[in-house]
Subunit: 436 residues, 2 copies
């Protein structure tokens, strides 16, 4: 990798999710040379991926080219590459385009799907933790209805139209709500030859409530909203196996060729980095985000386990934590360069929210929670504001306004076919050792 050395310490940043993005936006490139590595040439706004999967938005609305974000930034170099391993002895990152030396390394490659070792589920269920997986999921959803048209076997039709979403966290709840809207407003028009009333949406959750990480009000209201939208909710229900046709749980079994997995995430790993004693694959760091097991290596975002009295198992894997850590760590580097003191990380909880569909959302702020139409407006406003720039906001807003008025969605395009027999994306996403 031919990036010239300059007379400044070099920080290599691996990963341009929320943590890496905010870090590079905040770091003072008069004090450091910055090299950013990511396997994609774009940043993904993950909270809206479920809308790509359900034909509500196109990929360009929720992604942003990395080179454009950092246009004009001096002493900044982006390279689109995959990281193979870290050599903390020689202070080198080994990539598909050769090694690169670092003075400081910031690792922020985030999380991926966790199937908890269940290989059958991993093989047949469709996850949604990357843009490509979202597009794959969209193809699966649409193709299932195309396939249902071509069989006169009623049971096979049911399997194709029987959607089982595993996991009642924000992703599962938002997907279930979006599928319910497709069922109510879009699919009956698109498939007049099918009786769409036979489409079923099941949400399977192991705990005793949906959105368990949110407030009681949010859990209860989202449960009610989903019920009212026609989603069947199965609490205290854990998936035991799935052979591509039947989901076996500790309670109910489901005949389904449309199982969506949102039940677990785990930190990605990078060969050469020691966890430092974490039990769940995250990298244990101190309150300055420095990896316990290595010098000059910092870990932020979903990958990092920063323990404190308040968070004995580390912070939640949230976009907001990742973004704040990115900004905070860069500020610490900036302070160091000016001879000032660094600060310990303090998470500012600005609230969490989830949307269940038209006019329905739940919002938890620090002091109080609310739900319904006003929560939905809040959700829309906050997500529009969080999108990276004005053009994305404009396109997303146009799409949303259109949908709201017309009860319609964007283009239901199957650009790449989903292949049931060879879920190729999933394999490359989850079984590769290096994952930047």
């Amino acid at each position: 990798m031919n990036i010239p050395r300059v007379d400044l310490p070099r920080i290599v940043v691996v990963g341009c999710g929320f943590a890496g993005l905010k870090f590079v936006q905040t770091i003072n490139s008069k004090q450091y040379q910055i090299v950013l590595l990511d396997k994609n040439n774009y940043h993904t706004f993950q909270p809206l991926m479920y809308q790509v999967a359900t034909s509500g938005l196109e990929p360009d609305s929720i992604t942003y080219p990395i080179r454009k974000i950092f246009k004009g930034k001096k002493r900044f170099h982006f390279r689109k590459t995959s990281v193979e391993r870290i050599d903390t002895e020689k202070k080198q990152v080994h990539t598909t385009i050769g090694p690169i030396e670092y003075d400081h390394l910031v690792v922020a490659v985030g999380a991926t799907n966790n199937f908890f070792g269940n290989q059958d589920v991993e093989k047949y269920a469709v996850p949604m933790k990357s843009l490509l997986e979202s597009l794959q999921l969209r193809s699966m959803i649409l193709q299932n209805f195309e396939e249902a048209l071509n069989t006169s076997d009623i049971e096979e039709q049911n399997r194709l139209m029987n959607f089982v979403i595993v996991g009642g966290g924000a992703t599962g709840v938002e997907l279930a709500g979006a599928l319910a809207e497709l069922k109510a407003h879009v699919l009956p028009n698109d498939y007049p030859d099918l009786d769409i009333r036979r489409m079923e949406i099941h949400l399977v959750e192991g705990a005793d409530s949906v959105l368990a990480a949110m407030s009681d009000l949010a859990s209860k209201k989202s449960y009610d909203f989903l019920k009212k939208s026609g989603v069947n909710i199965w609490l205290n229900t854990r998936v035991e196996s799935y052979d591509g046709e039947t989901v076996i749980t500790n309670k109910e079994n489901f005949a389904s060729k449309a199982v969506i997995w949102t039940a677990g995430v785990k930190a990605r790993t990078l060969p050469g980095l020691e966890t430092g004693g974490s039990k769940n694959g995250r990298i244990l760091v101190d309150d300055r985000a420095k990896a316990l097991a290595h010098e000059d290596v910092y870990v932020i975002g979903d990958m990092a386990e920063m323990r404190s009295d308040e968070n004995p198992r580390g912070h939640a894997m949230l976009a907001s934590v990742a973004g704040q850590q990115g900004k905070w760590l860069a500020s610490n580097f900036n302070a160091l360069a000016r001879g000032k003191e660094t600060k310990a990380f303090v998470y500012k909880d600005k609230g969490t929210m989830a949307t269940i569909g038209r006019n329905k959302a739940v919002v938890d702020l620090k002091k109080f929670s609310f739900s319904g139409y006003f929560a939905w407006l809040t959700w829309m406003f906050v997500h529009l504001m969080l999108l990276v720039d004005f053009r994305n906001r404009l396109i997303v807003f146009t799409n949303w306004a259109w949908r709201y008025i017309k009860y319609d969605r964007g283009s239901r395009l199957i650009i790449r076919e989903f292949k049931r027999s060879e879920p190729n994306i999933k394999q490359t996403e989850t079984t590769k050792k290096s994952s930047v």
Copy 2:
């Protein structure tokens, strides 16, 4: 394929390009049962594919879901499938989802790339005749700059940044203009580590002018516009071979890893259909579009060769011809059902146009030609109006307005990587026998 027979003649339409689309929009489904087959679930507005390839528009702006277009149409059935062969004896279309019977068959599967038997060129050059190929071309363009960053071999860098567009028709000219805009306004910001002035754009044309099918004014003006934009134009120059690194022509040779093929198209073929004596693979039809070699088989659009005194070799392969033939043939069917006479096809030339970039276009109307800023406004207006519905128009207009004001383009996303060694899309697009 379980589509119930009704007490009406069944017309099976193969292909939903401009010809198939207009046919189904016009046919009276009180008189006929309509079955439309296409391998994609969307219609593609091909004239704007070059903007997808050059990061100007996203796929959803130039595609439209077929089911949505025909929402509410009675006795209409769409199936997403590939046609394997036609059995004109038994009057059946054999597809990947089983056979289907027809009373009348309308074939409109259009054209594909023509490499004139040059397998090396087919292997290494990137074509742009489908949405997937446009996306592949986008990935190739962007990846070349990413790769150029990672080599210190100056010659390799030049090969990666040396774009050779083969074919000076509308597609080649519009692509060259769009690449020139990328070079002038976008790439220098995106790749500050590269000297983008070293990027070269060559347009290679075998005839003695560009846009040879248009007026002399259009040819001359587009030549001037391209020259002014920095495009190198090589007339009377024919590509003889390309090994992935060097293009050999009858005049100049080019070291390039970025060869784009827009030099030829040919009719697609469907096993079971006889050409009826056409020399170029099209299907010879009479002035009612009936295939000479078969009963109850009609062919329209690029595939059809409808000879007349004015067009001894058939009509040009143009979207406008295809659309008009679709509408006209459906009107004939409608007339027949009411016991009226059918009419012979008469092509109404409403003009042709091409855009070369910001404020630059050429327009040929029947009586006169013009170019420049007003031509460019005309081009924009006509293409916006031709896009299928209001939402697409709105999104495209937003994108274009943004680009015009900001000298910027949409998201430069590499969603699927282009693999130089295995140009997979091209293979499935051009070597499969059946091609619906």
